[in-house]
C-alpha cells in the first residue's frame, strides 16, 4: 500500500493563525489512518463511484443539451460531444493516476496543491467550488424546464408574474436540495445509485428503439441531414458549450478519500463513467437529430428530448423522458452541491478558507456552513437564467483544473518524489497528458466572451484571496 510517511508537512498559517491539518499517516484499501489509532472508514464502492460520475454528468448531456447543441452545430453536434468525451478521457487518465497516488478528498485541488504548490491549488480549489456552483445552477435551470414540461403535459400552464416559471421552480428546487443536504440523514447514496440505474435503463430502452428506428427497421422515413449542416467552427464552439456534460468524473476524485480499494476503484470509476456517458451522448444526439433533423430539434430548446421520446414511442416515450429528465437534472444538481461542499472542506482543512467553513452542525452532523456556501450562490445564479453562460463558466473553471491536472502529472513524473507511487500508471505519458492539457485550454477560446471574462475574473479573485488570506501556507509535497 502507498505508505506516505516520509513526506513534508504543510507549513505556514493564514491571517487568522490557522494551520493546515496534519496529513494522515497511512492510506489503506479500507481506511485513511491517522496516528493514535484514529481511522476514517472508506465506504463508497465501485458502483457508488460510478454512480457519482455518471449521475453528475448524464443530467446535462442528455436532457438539456441536445436541442441547444443541434441548433448550433447540426447533426455534427454528435462530433462535438465526441470531442468533449476525448478530452475528458485524456484528463480522466492522469486524474486516475494522481488519485491512486493521493487517494484523498479534494480531487483536483488536492493533486494540484500538492504537486504544483499553494497558489495553483488555491486557484483550482476555489475555482472548483465555484465551478460546481455554476454547474449546479445550470442543472437546476434544466430541472425547472423539466418541471414546466411535466406540468405542460398534464395541462397546467404556470404564470408566475414577470419571472419565468422554470426559474422559480429551479430556485425552489435549489433551496429544497440545500435544505435537504443540511437536514436529511437518509441514505442519499443508495438513492443516487438507484436513480442512476433507472436512468440508464430508461435511456438504453429509448435509445435502442431510436437507433433501430433511425436504421429504418420500422420502415419510417428518418430525416436526412447534412452532417456539417452549420459548418465546422460551430462543432468546436458547441464542444466548448457541452463540455459541462463531462465534469462529473472529477467529482469522483473529490470523494477519493472515501472510496474503498482506491487503487482499483478510482481509475475504474473515473475512466468508466467517462466512457459510458460519452457513448450515451453520441447515440442520443444521433438518434435525436435523425428523428427530427437538427433545425427542428434546435427549436425545442432545453427539453428537446421529450419531443424525441414522444416521436419515437408516443406518450409513454414522452413520459419516460420527462421522468428521466427530472431524475437526471435532480441528481446532477444534488451531486454538484455535495461536491462543492467537499471542496470547501478540502480548502478549509488546508487553512485556505476559514476553518469555520467546514464546521459540522451538531444536530444533523452535516456541514451546514459549506452547504450554505454552495447553496446560496447557486440560487443567485439560477435567478440569472442564462443556461449557456452558467454551463460555460462551469466548464471554463473545470477546464483550467483539467489542464493543471495534466501538468501536475507531467511534473510529478519528471520530478518523481519519494511519495509518488501511483498504483495506476496511465499509458502514453508524456504525450497524452500534454495533449490533454493543450486540448483542455484550447476549448476555452470557443466560448462566449462573457463566459471567458467571468472565468478569468474568478481565477483572479481566487489568486487575490490566496495572496490576502493565506500567502504563507505551503502545501507542496504535503501528503
Amino acid at each position: 500500500m502507498a505508505d506516505s510517511s516520509e513526506t513534508g508537512e504543510g507549513t505556514g498559517q493564514n491571517i487568522e493563525g490557522e494551520r493546515p491539518e496534519p496529513e494522515p499517516e497511512t492510506v489503506t484499501e479500507e481506511t485513511t489512518t491517522h496516528d493514535e489509532g484514529v481511522e476514517l472508514e472508506r465506504t463508497i464502492g465501485l458502483v457508488g463511484g460510478l454512480a457519482i460520475g455518471i449521475g453528475t454528468m448524464i443530467g446535462a448531456g442528455i436532457f438539456v443539451f441536445p436541442g441547444l447543441a443541434a441548433y448550433q452545430a447540426g447533426p455534427a453536434a454528435a462530433l462535438s460531444f465526441a470531442i468533449g468525451g476525448v478530452i475528458a478521457l485524456l484528463v480522466a487518465l492522469p486524474a486516475s493516476e494522481l488519485a491512486t497516488a493521493m487517494p484523498r478528498s479534494g480531487g483536483g485541488y488536492y493533486f494540484i496543491s500538492r504537486s504544483l504548490g499553494t497558489a495553483g491549488g488555491a486557484i483550482v480549489g476555489l475555482g472548483l467550488w465555484l465551478g460546481l456552483v455554476f454547474a449546479a445552477a445550470f442543472y437546476l435551470v434544466g430541472l425547472g424546464h423539466y418541471v414546466v414540461a411535466v406540468l405542460d403535459e398534464i395541462g397546467v400552464a404556470l404564470t408566475l408574474g414577470p419571472i419565468p416559471p422554470h426559474v422559480v421552480l429551479g430556485l425552489i428546487a435549489g433551496a429544497a436540495l440545500t435544505a435537504l443536504s443540511v437536514g436529511g440523514t437518509e441514505r442519499t447514496a443508495a438513492l443516487q445509485n438507484g436513480i442512476v440505474v433507472i436512468l440508464l435503463v430508461i435511456l438504453t430502452g429509448v435509445l435502442t428503439f431510436g437507433v433501430l428506428d433511425a436504421l429504418g427497421v420500422f420502415g419510417r422515413q428518418s430525416v436526412p441531414d447534412t452532417f456539417f449542416s452549420k459548418g465546422y467552427f460551430p462543432v468546436l464552439s458547441t464542444a466548448a458549450l457541452v463540455f459541462t456534460s463531462y465534469l462529473g468524473f472529477a467529482q469522483v476524485a473529490t470523494v477519493a478519500g472515501e472510496i474503498k480499494q482506491p487503487s482499483r476503484n478510482l481509475p475504474l470509476a473515473m475512466i468508466g463513467s467517462v466512457i459510458i456517458v460519452t457513448v450515451f451522448y453520441a447515440v442520443t444526439i444521433l438518434v435525436a437529430t435523425s428523428t427530427f433533423g437538427a433545425d427542428r430539434l434546435g427549436q425545442f430548446g432545453e427539453t428537446a428530448m421529450v419531443n424525441v421520446g414522444r416521436d419515437l414511442l408516443g406518450l409513454p416515450g414522452a413520459v419516460l423522458i420527462l421522468v428521466a429528465g427530472l431524475l437526471a437534472t435532480f441528481s446532477s444538481a444534488n451531486a454538484s452541491i455535495l461536491s462543492a461542499s467537499r471542496s470547501i472542506y478540502a480548502l478549509s482543512r488546508d487553512a485556505l478558507l476559514p476553518r469555520k467553513a467546514s464546521e459540522i452542525n451538531l444536530k444533523y452532523g452535516t456541514p451546514h456552513v459549506a452547504l450554505a456556501m454552495a447553496g446560496g450562490p447557486i440560487l443567485v445564479l439560477v435567478a440569472t437564467d442564462s443556461v449557456e453562460i452558467l454551463a460555460e463558466v462551469a466548464s471554463f473553471l473545470h477546464l483550467v483544473m483539467y489542464a493543471l491536472i495534466c501538468v501536475a502529472l507531467l511534473v510529478l513524473r519528471r520530478r518523481d518524489p519519494d511519495w509518488y507511487e501511483p498504483d495506476f500508471r496511465m499509458p502514453g505519458a508524456p504525450a497524452l497528458p500534454a495533449i490533454g492539457a493543450v486540448a483542455s485550454i484550447a476549448l476555452i477560446p470557443f466560448m462566449n466572451g462573457a463566459s471567458i471574462v467571468i472565468g478569468i475574473v474568478i481565477m483572479a479573485l481566487s489568486y487575490g484571496w490566496y495572496r490576502y488570506y493565506a500567502p504563507d501556507i505551503r502545501l507542496k509535497g504535503d501528503i
Binding site: 484499501e29 484514529v38 481511522e39 472508514e41 472542506y345 459540522i360
Partner: protein, 250 residues
Amino acid sequence: MTERPSVLVPIRVLEDESLPEGTTELLAKAHVVLLGYHVIPEQTAPGQARMQFEDQALSRLDAYEELLVDAGATVDQRLVFTHDAQQTIDRQIAEYDCLAALVPRALAAVEDVLVAVRGTVGLDRLARVVGGLFADRGIDVTLYHVTSEDESDADVEVLLDGVIDRMDENGFDTDHVDTRTDRDVKPVDAIADLAETYDVVVMGESDSSLSTFVFGMPADQVAERFLGPVLVVQREPAADPEASDADDQP
C-alpha cells in the same frame, strides 16, 4: 493457563453512549478492542468530522480505557469515523481477529451466565470465550440448547458434554456448569425469556440466511429483548486471502 479472549466493545462515543456499568468487571479477563465510532451522514466527509470531534472522542475513549485497565483488562483502542457502522465493526472484528463482540449494556454483577449452544460449529470459540472470561471467578454458567426435531436427547448430551470438555480445557471449573434443554420452542424467544434471570448472555453469530436477512440475526433479536449485555461469539474468519488484504496493523 488460559489466553485472554479478544472482545470487541463498540461504543458510539460521541452520542453519549458510555461504557455501561459493570462492563469493566465483565471484561476484566479479556483483551478488549475498544472501538469508539461515530456515524456521520453521507453529506459529511469523515475527515471533516475528525477535525471537529477527534479530541473530544479520544479523551472519552482514554477514560474508558483507563477504567478497563484498572479492572484488569488489556486494551487496544480505535476511533473510527464512518458512514457505515456495520462495515466498521465487521472490519475491526476481522483485523483484530476478535473472538466475540459485546452488545454493551449495563449489568449489576457477573454471577450467572447463560450460554446458548446452537450446533457443533464454533463450539471451540464459544468455549474459549466462556473459559477465558469467566474461569476461576465463582461464576455459574448454564449451557442452554433448544433441541430440534431431528435431534435425539443423546445427540444433545454429546453436544453439551463436548462443550463442557472444551470449557474444562480452557480452565473452567466444571462444577460451575449446568445444562438445560428445551424442545418445541422458538430458540430466540426461549433464549430471550430465559435470559431474564441471568446477568449475561453468550451466544454464537449465526450464518446469514434468508431469514436472518429478513428478521435480523438471532443474536440481534435476543439483544433487542434482553436488557443486559450479550456477547456474540464470532464465526471463524473465512480463510480467503482477501480478508487479510488490508491488514497492516502496527
